[in-house]
């Protein structure tokens, strides 16, 4: 029997959201994330021409070539993706953007741009494919590698790791999540929520490097993630489905704290169902506390770590025209110039 491929509301099949075949190592966590991006875009009926895919430099940053082939993409410089996204979205604020970075790209060379793009609240999904190691240059420690990690050619890491989720919250991010590339369901749920978010959405996804950092004991390895991941909650996304964009966001608590519902600006609802922990991601104090606990107890906590109603975005602060700047031809009149010239005489 011939298999009938499922189409989405745009009449596209999932294959239409694919791009070139990956050149990353077989089993790389990044490939799994690329697949989730494809799945989410298909499920959300995203028109690919309305989305940008951006990246820096590194294994992770190669991956935008492997998803959403009908979206414009820009593989920028090491650690400098945030500034390029900023400019691209200022040129056309009606676009959405998904950007992929790595722990070297963001946690070391790009730490400044990471923090400043958050501070400006440039509205895009910022994914860090975090594996604790430099892949393309063959296995150096990254700044997120845990203390005590031992790698083949570089010995033991004696320095404490940088927690990018913590850094994001401190910098003023309004949507900050941590996940595990092996937890496909959670990655996809968080991705969909992040896409609906009107601000910089940070997704720190532990994404194992199967070639250089995949020992059972390594905190960024696949076996470690499978064994130790502790989701803070179960996440369910309810797509907006023709719901008109809302002016105000509503955040409510239901069922005596069992479920928290976060309604996004585009009508998407994020349902967070309580698991073992009593955790409310709308509390910055709880976020700091849980991250501190995770560090101290070496817990691999995942989920929506922090959420708040977003501040105005950069294009809003700049009061840019509704029409994308790129499409505007605006030269003030000759009279205006002549008036100005008179004032200099």
């Amino acid at each position: 029997m011939a298999r009938v491929e499922k189409t989405n509301k745009l009449g596209l099949v999932k294959d239409d959201y694919q791009a070139r075949p990956t050149t990353l190592c077989p089993g790389c966590g990044h490939n799994s994330i690329s697949n989730q991006i494809v799945q989410s875009a298909f499920d959300l009926n995203i028109a690919q021409h309305q989305l940008l895919k951006m990246s820096g430099i590194g294994c992770s940053s190669k991956s935008p070539a492997y998803f959403l082939g009908r979206s414009h993409g820009f593989n920028a410089l090491h650690g400098r993706m945030p500034s390029v996204v900023t400019g691209a979205l200022m040129a056309n604020h009606t676009l959405k953007a998904i950007a992929v970075s790595g722990d070297g790209d963001t946690g070391s060379i790009g730490m400044g741009q990471f923090k400043h793009v958050i501070r400006r609240n440039v509205p895009f999904v910022y994914i860090i494919e975090n594996n604790g190691v430099y892949g393309l240059t063959k296995g150096q420690f990254s700044a997120t590698a845990e203390e005590g990690l031992e790698l083949k050619h570089y010995g033991r890491n004696e320095m404490p790791p940088i927690d990018l989720v913590l850094e994001a919250i401190i910098s003023g991010a309004t949507f900050v999540a941590r996940s595990f590339s092996g937890d496909k369901k959670q990655v996809q749920a968080l991705l969909e929520a992040a896409i609906a978010h009107k601000g910089t959405a940070i997704l720190d996804i532990i994404s194992p490097c199967v070639t250089f950092n995949n020992a059972d004991t390594s905190h960024h390895s696949f076996p470690y993630g499978v064994k130790h991941e502790v989701p803070l909650h179960e996440i369910q996304i309810i797509a907006p489905d023709f719901v008109a964009p809302q002016d105000e966001i509503e955040v409510e608590t239901y069922e005596d704290g069992q479920t928290i519902e976060v309604s996004m600006h585009d009508g998407t609802s994020v349902l967070l169902k309580k698991l073992d922990k009593d955790y409310d991601p709308r509390s910055k104090a709880q976020a700091y506390a849980v991250l501190e606990e995770a560090q101290r107890e070496e817990l691999f906590l995942t989920g929506l770590i922090y959420y708040e109603e977003p501040r105005p975005t950069l294009p809003e602060l700049e009061q840019v025209a509704d029409t994308p700047l790129a499409l505007i031809n605006d030269r003030p009149s000759k009279d205006k110039l002549d008036d100005i010239m008179k004032s200099f005489k």
Binding site: H49, A76, S83, M90, L327
Partner: protein
């Protein structure tokens, strides 16, 4: 070396009046408010119809260090910095000894009478000014006294050199944007000093001003403000920047005129983002250029050092964007508040690997304005970074200029395919690839993000790619790209400002220069002619060099390349790009941190010619 100086008196010892042809040097402390008093002097002379320049020679400091301001009045319209300044206003204890020592014989020293001065010279005229006494009498609130005491030298100069006091007041009003209260407060001090000088000083020097008609229809403006206006009228959409002297006022002035760029809803068609550093500023304008916006930044040498990796990316991914380099003295932090033409070689070839860039070289506010709007057109037409190299002298000093001409052509957006034209393109050519060269001019067709067409997307990248913008490490693809980029640079030459040439086949000496050396070149050529040395002149207005430069070189027995950097960078570029015999090309370089003078050019050429 003894030089005949018909256009720049070494001494003014005879008693014949010298009218509208002398220069001032005003020595004060940085941050003491002298900027206002000097601006009033310049504007007053300008308003009296006397061609004038004013150049601020200031330290990298907010308050306290010595600063000098030179003002030159020239009935003949020469506006280059003058080497000699006959009138010295010495208001700074730290430099008074040196300032008096540097006063030429026959010159004048106007000084605060509370300064400790060296033993008097008998070949100059002294006018002590009792600043403290005058300020005691002045009806000025204590809080403002320190800030207006420099107005005392304006009053004394006005009296000694016959400046029109109504014009001085009008200039004060101009300076304070029409606000009468501060203008009046300052005018009271000027008047007090003027009256005191009339009663107490005996005029014993030959210098005076006379109203003339040499500035009618002209404006006074800084190059940075001209650049800002040119960009706003050039339809720039996006500016990202990081503050750095001497470029900062380019973006300050874009802010000032941003109100001209509102749409019918009251929203802006021009956004300005202050970045966290120059790397981010470059990244933002490249992102914006990729997104289809006309984008620019303004910076100086140290900023461009940081931006160089991004510039390489923009060059290779072929992203339009404009970089203003308001040059200052390097290497390194160098002399941040001194002028230089030292970035020419650096920006022309900026980036690792094989790259070279378009550089426009304005010499005046008019050209700063014109090159500002043209650079945005050229960037989009050529799909590449375009540099405009101004300098501190043009950028931060007030220059006389003609009112700017409204852009003569509509905005040019280059080869951009929308969904409809993309369909046609594919129909005509079978397919579309971002870097396909169907016009054989090296310039491909681009699409903008947001284009609703299943084939519109491409992946911009700094990595090796083929004409379809797909990653490639194949040597053939690489070389095809480099050859196309070379062709594109050749095409670009037709879009650049043409060089300006003054040529007469009877002359065997040719001078080549660029940028803000222009006024000194004009004056030096007159001066040389008076001394019996006739010359032709070519002013380079853009890189890459076009063929006319090499033709000019080949038509002369001797060529002097005159520039305000230490290494002779234009000369080096000529030697790299021109394959002809260049043994007759000689490099004359200054690069001392100060604007070029005619005297230095004349002395340098005469030295060569009398060898």
């Amino acid at each position: 070396m003894a030089v005949n100086l018909p256009l720049e008196q070494e001494s003014a010892t005879d008693s014949k009046p010298i009218v509208n042809d002398f220069a001032f040097s005003v020595a004060t402390q940085n941050g003491s408010g002298s900027q206002t008093s000097n601006a009033v002097l310049v504007r007053s002379l300008f308003n009296m119809g006397i061609p004038v320049n004013g150049k601020n020679l200031f330290p990298s400091n907010i308050k306290g260090l010595p600063t000098w301001y030179t003002i030159r009045a020239s009935k003949d319209g020469y506006v280059a910095r003058r080497f000699t300044t006959e009138i010295v206003v010495a208001y700074n204890q730290d430099t008074v000894t040196e300032d008096i020592k540097n006063t030429p014989p026959g010159g004048v020293v106007i000084y605060r009478d509370d300064l400790k001065t060296p033993p008097e010279r008998d070949d100059i005229t002294y006018y002590p000014v009792p600043v403290r006494k005058l300020m005691k009498e002045a009806n000025v609130a204590r809080a403002f006294k320190a800030r207006v005491e420099n107005m005392t030298y304006v009053g004394v100069c006005a009296q000694l050199f016959d400046m029109d006091m109504d014009v001085v007041y009008q200039s004060l009003l101009d300076q304070f944007g029409g606000k009468e209260k501060p203008a009046q407060m300052n005018m009271d001090v000027i008047r007090l000093a003027y009256d005191w000088a009339a009663e107490n000083l005996i005029k014993s020097d030959p210098f005076r001003f006379e109203t003339m008609n040499g500035t009618a229809g002209k404006i006074l403006i800084t190059g940075n403000e001209a650049a800002a206006l040119g960009s706003v009228f050039g339809g720039v959409h996006f500016v990202a920047w990081y503050p750095i002297t001497p470029s900062t006022s380019v973006v300050d002035d874009i802010h000032k005129y941003r109100h001209l760029r509102k749409d019918d809803d009251g929203n802006y068609t021009l956004a300005i983002v202050q970045a966290e550093d120059e790397l981010a500023a470059a990244g933002m304008i490249i992102g914006a250029g990729f997104g289809g916006a006309r984008s620019m930044t303004a910076t100086s040498g140290p900023g461009l050092s940081l931006m160089s990796e991004f510039v390489g990316l923009a060059y290779f991914a072929e992203i339009p964007c404009v970089f203003w380099d308001i040059t200052r003295m390097g290497p390194s932090t160098g002399m941040p508040t001194r002028t230089s033409q030292g970035d020419l070689l650096f920006i022309h070839y900026l980036g690792h690997g094989d790259s070279h860039h378009i550089v426009l070289l304005p010499a005046s506010p008019e050209e700063a304005f014109e090159f500002a709007w043209r650079s945005l057109d050229i960037a989009e037409e050529m799909q590449t970074p375009v540099f405009v190299m101004s300098d501190l002298d043009l950028g931060m000093n007030n220059w006389m200029a003609d009112p700017f001409e409204y852009p003569s052509e509509p905005l040019k957006r280059g080869k951009v395919l929308d969904a409809e034209s993309l369909t046609k393109f594919i129909k005509n050519h079978g397919k579309w690839g971002r870097y396909m060269d169907v016009d054989n001019d090296g310039v491909g067709y681009r699409t903008l993000p947001g284009t609703d067409h299943p084939n519109a997307a491409y992946f911009a990248r700094g990595t090796g790619h083929n004409e379809m913008a797909v990653y490639s490490e194949r040597s053939e693809d690489w070389l095809a790209n480099m050859n196309r980029l070379r062709l594109k640079m050749e095409t670009a030459k037709q879009h650049l400002p043409q060089n300006i040439e003054d040529y007469d086949a009877n002359k065997s000496i040719g001078l080549i220069s660029f940028g803000t050396n222009e006024p000194a070149m004009v004056e030096a050529r007159d001066w040389l002619k008076n001394n019996g040395i006739e010359s032709n002149y070519l002013r380079v207005r853009a890189l890459p060099l076009s063929k006319d430069v090499f033709d000019f070189i080949n038509k002369h027995k001797t060529i002097y390349v005159i520039e305000n950097n230490f290494d002779g960078q234009l000369d080096q570029i000529i030697h790299m790009e021109c394959k002809d015999n260049l043994t007759h090309v000689k490099s004359l370089t200054l690069g001392d941190g100060l604007p070029m003078t005619a005297r230095w050019i004349v002395e340098s050429i005469e030295e060569q010619e009398t060898k």
